[in-house]
Symmetry: C2
Subunit: 218 residues, 2 copies
């Protein structure tokens, strides 16, 4: 992700993170994972899926219409990659300019969440997306639960890289007159837009009212 080639193994090693707390913070900060899977011909396919961490497992939710989701549910090897883009690194050369990011790749196999655990897993996914929303909603119907596929993968094998350093220009560039610095990216929710069929007088609920106050975890 660096705009620099990073040929130095030392610099690469500096980016590697092994702290589980940093991994959990990333997984709790991003709601969309990119899931890689291999097709029958041995070629890769990468698809986005909704993600929530539930303790030591990942919960993944996608369209049951997708053959890839069904393949993942059947226990194919997957790689679940989660990336947050945090800032632009504006260096004094194109070569040293880059992106602050956090990215983790988790490897393993998924299994469908069993029936007796599905309601709790769905609650977890919903509350990760819209904190507090579960308490405002009716419970899922048996038909809805039966029609829903949630995958779980244990958090076991993973690697994480994180880039968060200021621009690292060589002395001859630092001595010049080019600007250098970091420009953070802010993800925020905008104002809620009511559904066209919303009944009159139905107020925006607390869960949705609270969204713009915090960074968007999307």
């Amino acid at each position: 992700m660096s705009s620099t080639p990073n040929t130095s193994p030392t610099r690469l090693r500096e980016k590697v993170r092994t702290d589980r707390g940093l991994l959990d913070a990333l997984l709790d900060d991003v709601r969309v994972a990119h899931v890689g899977i291999v097709d029958d011909g041995g070629s890769p396919v990468v698809l986005p899926m909704a993600l929530a961490r539930d303790g030591d497992r990942l919960l993944l939710h996608g369209s049951t219409g997708s053959p890839w989701l069904r393949r993942a549910a059947a226990g194919a090897d997957v790689c679940v990659t989660v990336t947050a883009v945090d800032a632009l690194v504006v260096a004094r050369s194109a070569f040293e300019s880059s992106i602050h990011y956090r990215s983790a790749a988790l490897f393993g196999r998924c299994a469908p969440v069993p029936e007796d655990d599905k309601e709790q897993a769905l609650d977890r996914l919903t509350d990760a997306l819209i904190p507090g929303r579960v308490g405002e909603l009716r419970r899922p119907t048996p038909r809805e639960l039966a029609a829903t596929l949630v995958l779980a993968m244990p958090i076991e094998r993973w690697s994480m890289k994180m880039s968060a350093a200021p621009p690292d220009d060589p002395p001859e560039d630092v001595a010049g007159d080019a600007w250098a610095g970091v420009v953070p990216v802010r993800r925020r929710y905008g104002d809620p837009v009511p559904a066209p069929d919303l009944g009159e007088g139905i107020p925006v609920p607390p869960s949705v009212r609270s969204l713009p106050a915090a960074p968007a975890r999307l």
Copy 2:
């Protein structure tokens, strides 16, 4: 990505987009792609890479220290997936709540951009990340160019899905008193943070000053 199972093929079909203009808009809106590749053991690996569209080809830039980048450069099959998360869809049930997104998967093989084309490709990547920055910077040195690996992939085989509809609740939920609507996500740049080693009196350049005025393309 939907929080609903989407078992209906009709609904799935509604999400599929074949308009090249929509694909280009997505590719120009997002600077990080997730690239899938298959390892020697037949397992998938997904890694983030910087992305820019250059006409009918994708330019990809990552760490040359990565064995996966080298594998992609050697012509392994790849899937390059680009996803923009545009809004939360807050429905009257967890089942119908979902995410507005645009996601494209592009399939093919990469090749390293040849030496005589590399400088232009790097300019394209830099200006996609920080519009106008190339004109403010010194030119890359021959050593920097030699140390840089840019991959190109033709935009040929791709599929795109897009979800942009309001909540689609059944009549019995619409008749109830739960709120429904859409909450947009805004990606914006914050105030630039100067590098610790920035010389006194060096002003923020126009390219960086312009960033907060537009949505962050990250």
